[in-house]
């Protein structure tokens, strides 16, 4: 056989052994790749039972993905690696004890080594002779490792159990996800509010900044990581309170209430009809424009018309005296000037009135914007507070409705016993009888549906005093804008400490109490289902 023929024979053998080596390695390492993925998945499954990370279904998907990834990685390493002829030769030398014959032949053939031709020829013949004696089937047996498959089987059983058995952390996980989702939704809602404020042309720059501040602050805090449900509720509540304060600060409610009656005299006058209608309709911006127009038209009025207009303006000024002193004064000055025949002074006064009306219009816009934003935040806060409650129970609590007993304390101070049927999606109401008082009890539905068990929880009565006994007090509009002017109507009930009448407005202290409660919800151990009752309690007390 020629040297070339012998070398080709050697190359063919080396390639055949390399293929067999790949299959042997595949039988060994593909299961190990699979095992690596499964072991990783088992760790994930174990972690998911200790911490709320994944649902059982997700654990299943993760396990399948990791197992597949392990297989693919092992196959990739095994089958994509290309070995040079020298590498194949060295492997053959090493594995079949060829004493470096094959690699020497390959290197001699490639010209990497030098030897006299007769020696190189004898070396090649020696190599071919030695390789022909190799039993590749015995040297590279194609068999799998039983221990590997045993561990794979055990790991698979563990994973199947992890997917099939209920995960005690599933409820918490679902709750967290829903909370996070709701917080994200509220973040988007806040961004929308922020855009609306920015695009509201009726607002001045100062008003816009004032409105943006609580919204932006809330946005920033909501986007913080590891934000708990309680913190999110607190953030939204705080922003809402600030917006309500802004709304109250810009409130022109007392003025608005007087506008209808105040505008009537002006409507009856032909010259000031448009101003009067605008005032009656509450459109202060239009009223401002109409006042300016009226100022321009004054010079065209005859004496009688001027006198009539002065009368109407005086009546309107009188009607607005308690609601808006500045506007009232301007209108009165205009009326006086008309009576005196000083058209220029009247025009000046009307223009001042127009300015005042424009300013009130901006206040009105700010008030509305703040109120609207506060309303949206209120709704968002409730959604965040309720997030995870229905879903968590509905998802896991389908097995049984809970039964519970509740204890309630009636308004009369008596206690009542209650029994209730807890539904899967919420708390059941309970009724109880007591000696003389009427007790109300509430029972919580079986949370998670684990056993249908429900715990009794105190739920305060909703303090709806509107339809109950008691005296309705109707406060004049100016009492809201200027409480100090209302005197005894708003006079606080004397405390038991005697003559001390110093009080703090409820709206100011509420936030502190609510924050303290929410902080306690975070720091102290309170069953998850019970937290909502605390939040609802404070929600119901909000000003």
């Amino acid at each position: 056989m020629s040297d070339n023929g012998e070398f080709e024979q050697l190359v063919e053998r080396l390639s055949r052994w390399d293929r067999r080596r790949r299959w042997r390695d595949a039988l060994l390492w593909l299961p190990r790749g699979l095992l690596a993925g499964l072991l990783l998945a088992a760790l994930v499954a174990a972690a998911a039972r200790v911490r709320p990370l994944l649902t059982n279904e997700e654990v299943g998907y993760v396990a399948a993905g990791l197992a597949l990834a392990g297989l693919v990685a092992a196959a990739g390493v095994l089958f994509t690696r290309r070995r040079t002829l020298l590498e194949k030769a060295r492997f053959a030398d090493r594995h079949f004890g060829l004493q470096e014959r094959a690699s020497t032949t390959v290197e001699l053939n490639a010209g990497r080594l030098q030897a006299p031709p007769f020696l190189a020829g004898q070396q090649m013949a020696d190599t071919v002779r030695a390789t022909s004696a190799v039993d590749a089937k015995a040297g590279l047996p194609l068999r799998a490792n039983r221990q590997d498959w045993l561990v794979i089987g055990l790991t698979l059983l563990l994973l199947i159990a992890a997917v099939w058995l209920p995960n005690p952390r599933a409820e918490v996980l679902q709750h967290r996800r829903e909370v996070a989702k709701t917080i994200a939704e509220q973040t988007e809602a806040l961004e929308t509010i922020s855009e609306e404020i920015e695009e509201n042309e009726a607002l001045t720059e100062e008003q816009r900044d004032a409105l943006q501040e609580p919204v932006e602050s809330a946005l920033q805090e909501l986007q913080a990581e590891d934000l708990t449900q309680e913190e999110a509720v607190a953030v939204l509540s705080e922003a809402e309170a600030e917006l309500r304060d802004l709304s109250a600060a810009n409130s022109i409610e007392s003025l608005r209430r007087q506008l209808e009656s105040a505008g009537r005299p002006l409507v009856e006058n032909a010259a000031s009809q448009s101003l009067g209608r605008a005032l009656q309709s509450g459109n202060l911006a239009q009223a401002g424009a109409a006042a300016a127009q009226l100022a321009d038209d004054l010079s065209a009025l005859d004496e009688q018309e001027a006198a009539d207009l002065a009368e109407s303006l005086a009546e309107t000024a009188s009607a607005l005296e308690g609601a808006d002193g500045e506007l009232s004064q301007s209108l009165q000055e205009a009326a006086d000037a008309l009576r005196e025949g000083d058209v220029a002074a009247a025009q000046e006064a009307l223009r001042e009135a127009s300015g005042a009306l424009q300013q009130r219009a901006q206040q009105q816009a700010a008030e509305r914007q703040a109120a609207e934003a506060a309303g949206q935040l209120n709704e968002g806060r409730r959604e965040v507070a309720q997030a995870g409650q229905e879903g968590g129970q509905a998802g896991e609590g389908e097995q049984a409705a809970g039964e519970g007993q509740g204890e309630g304390q009636g308004p009369g101070g008596s206690q009542g016993q209650g029994q209730g049927q807890g539904q899967v999606d919420g708390a059941g109401a309970g009724q109880g009888n007591s000696g003389e008082g009427t007790g109300t009890g509430a029972s919580a539905g079986g949370i998670g549906g684990e056993s249908g068990h429900a715990e009794s929880v105190y739920v305060p009565d909703f303090a709806d005093l509107s339809g109950e006994a008691g005296e309705d007090v109707e406060l004049p509009a100016e009492c809201i804008a200027n409480p100090e002017s209302c005197g005894a109507l708003l006079n606080e009930t004397p405390t038991e400490f005697g003559d001390e009448t110093s009080t703090v407005p409820y709206s100011q202290v509420f936030g502190d109490y609510r924050d303290a409660a929410y902080e306690a919800l975070n720091d102290d151990y309170i069953p998850l289902g019970m937290k909502e009752y605390v939040r609802d309690y404070f929600s119901s007390l909000e000003p």
Binding site: D93, Q99, E100, E107, L108, L113, F118, L119, Q123
Partner: protein
Amino acid sequence: MADVIEKTSGEGVAELTVADFRDTAADIEAEVGKVIVGQENVVRHVLIAILAGGHTLLEGVPGLGKTMLVRTLSQALHLEFSRIQFTPDLMPADITGTDIMEETPDGQRLFRFQPGPIFANLILADEINRATPKTQSALLEAMQEKTVTVANETYPLPAPFFVLATQNPLEMEGTYPLPEAQLDRFLFKVDVHFPSAGELTEIVARTTGKEVPTAEPAADGPRVIAMQRLARQVPIPSHVGDYVSRLVVATHPQESPAPLVRQYVRYGASPRGAQALVLGSKITALFAGRYNVSFDDVAAVAPAALRHRLILNFEGQAEGIEPDHIIDDLLEHVPKDEKGDA
């Protein structure tokens, strides 16, 4: 294909095949084996050193047949043999020879170089550590350059030229241990061990009988040279060559993967150690009937090639660490493949 090495013109080197090499080597060992009982490993290593063109240091207690081995080898190789007994009063000129004054028939007086005993093919430097360093160093030029310089005149030594030195490891009093530079010039250091009981019985039987066996020539100088040339052409795969380099580098404690080297070695082998490993491996491969060097060949000659090149530190000397143990540790820890792919 020409199954021979090229004829070397002018030196009378016979054409030699690989098979001839193996046969000749086997014949030499067989002839030596007629006289020397056992000590196959010693004979093999000495023969490898000779065929590699190197010198050998034989270490063993007196009476183990070291001198007999060398004398027998000279007979089997049909080489001129010369024995120099090293003593403290031995002078360099006693080895190399000297210029002596002669009177010619016409009455003129001339200096004539009188060659010393070193002018032979096979030199037995018996108990080399008993001579003074000055005398020992006289061997340096001869061993390395294969020439002798006397009175500014350089004289070539006959080819082939081998020095086989012996030394006694026990009686160290009054000796002059060979300096590292001189030790490094020996290709191999071969330990001659006491024979087993069976071998001893055979030695006694052979040497106390009516006829004392003698070795017949199995080769001659030109044949030995031809064998040397053939051996040098044996290919060594690149990864085996790399392994030899890593092995020698690993004898140095700074970056050695072998724990014993790091702990007990002060200084490792020189590049001559790598040359000794490669040359010895090539001849070992031919002895094994192979045409290329393998890792096993390297491992087979590593102790003889490296043991006298490892300089132990104080701790190693105090604990009596055998260099062979360190070499075993080296062979165990130095990866055969650079990537560590076993």
